[in-house]
Amino acid sequence: MEPFRALASSDRAMDHIDVSQLVPVADFETEALEFLPNVARYARLLTRDQADADDLTQDTFLRAYEKWSTYRPGTDCRKWLFTICRNLYLRNRDRAKRFVSEEDATSELRATGELYERAAANGLKNLFDHIDIGPALKRSIGELLPEYREAVLLVDIEDYTYEEAASTVGVPIGTIRSRLFRARRRLQQSLLEHARDLGFSLAAETSSAHEEVAS
């Protein structure tokens, strides 16, 4: 039995976790993860967007895990988690208001890379070539916040350059880039979840996917 375990091996925030602070899983699980439904509800209330809420909830637990040594057992863990959640939300919101940094685009790219690795590991390399993802894709784009949807419409459907899209919307190019990258990552995430929910035939996908050989 492994005594220590990372929360989500594929998450980008894992980069910042100091291994020396890892704590036995049992405590964190019974004390903190117990309140996941409460934190998820709180995050949904703050963000009013399901995907943002999921991200915020995940970030909250990753941060809580990172700071677990500062939590005093026996005190109100739910309140402690809510405070983390709220601070992360406010910080993200303020940052989004002030400027959209190059860092955001880079972290979206990293998350997109992780999604690909997950898809590949599950034999879903050909997922986007399937004709039947159309309805799921339309639904997913409908769930995006308007500014993300706008970036996808202008660049992916109208074939605008980043610069043209930025001047149409009246924001800096960096903002369009990070909105676009984020929207794409969200759409891919939804499609992968959709494929999983359908119990996409992983074996069939894997056998049909031919491996390319590096020269």
Binding site: T106, L109, R110, T112, G113, Y116, A119, A120, K125, N126, L127, F128, D129, I133, G134, L137, K138, I141, V152, L153, V155, D156, I157, T161, Y162, R177, L180, F181, R184, L187, Q188, E211, E212, V213, A214, S215
Partner: protein, 87 residues
């Protein structure tokens, strides 16, 4: 981002250029170096192929232009009331 001049790009650098590359937003030099990497790195090549398929799926499934025939008739009808005559 700083990439050493003339150096072979690492997978990490290449992945950071993913969307800019697929969206044709890179200048010629960087584009060529990404291309050189993809030519010999099967992993990145497959990743870029996957993302390219995604962009094609978005473009083809979200193109609703065909849905506007009814709307066009309605608008032309309204224009007609304003004196518009289509040729």
């Amino acid at each position: 981002m700083t990439i050493p001049e003339g150096a072979f790009m690492s997978c990490q650098h290449v992945v950071r250029q993913l969307w800019d590359y697929l969206d044709n937003e890179l200048d010629d030099d960087v584009r060529r170096r990404v291309r050189e990497h993809l030519d010999i790195c099967a992993h990145c090549r497959e990743h870029f192929t996957f993302e390219g398929a995604f962009l094609r799926a978005v473009a083809s499934h979200l193109d609703d232009a065909a849905d506007t025939a009814t709307l066009r008739a309605r608008i032309v009808g309204a224009l007609n009331l304003e004196g518009y005559r289509s040729s």
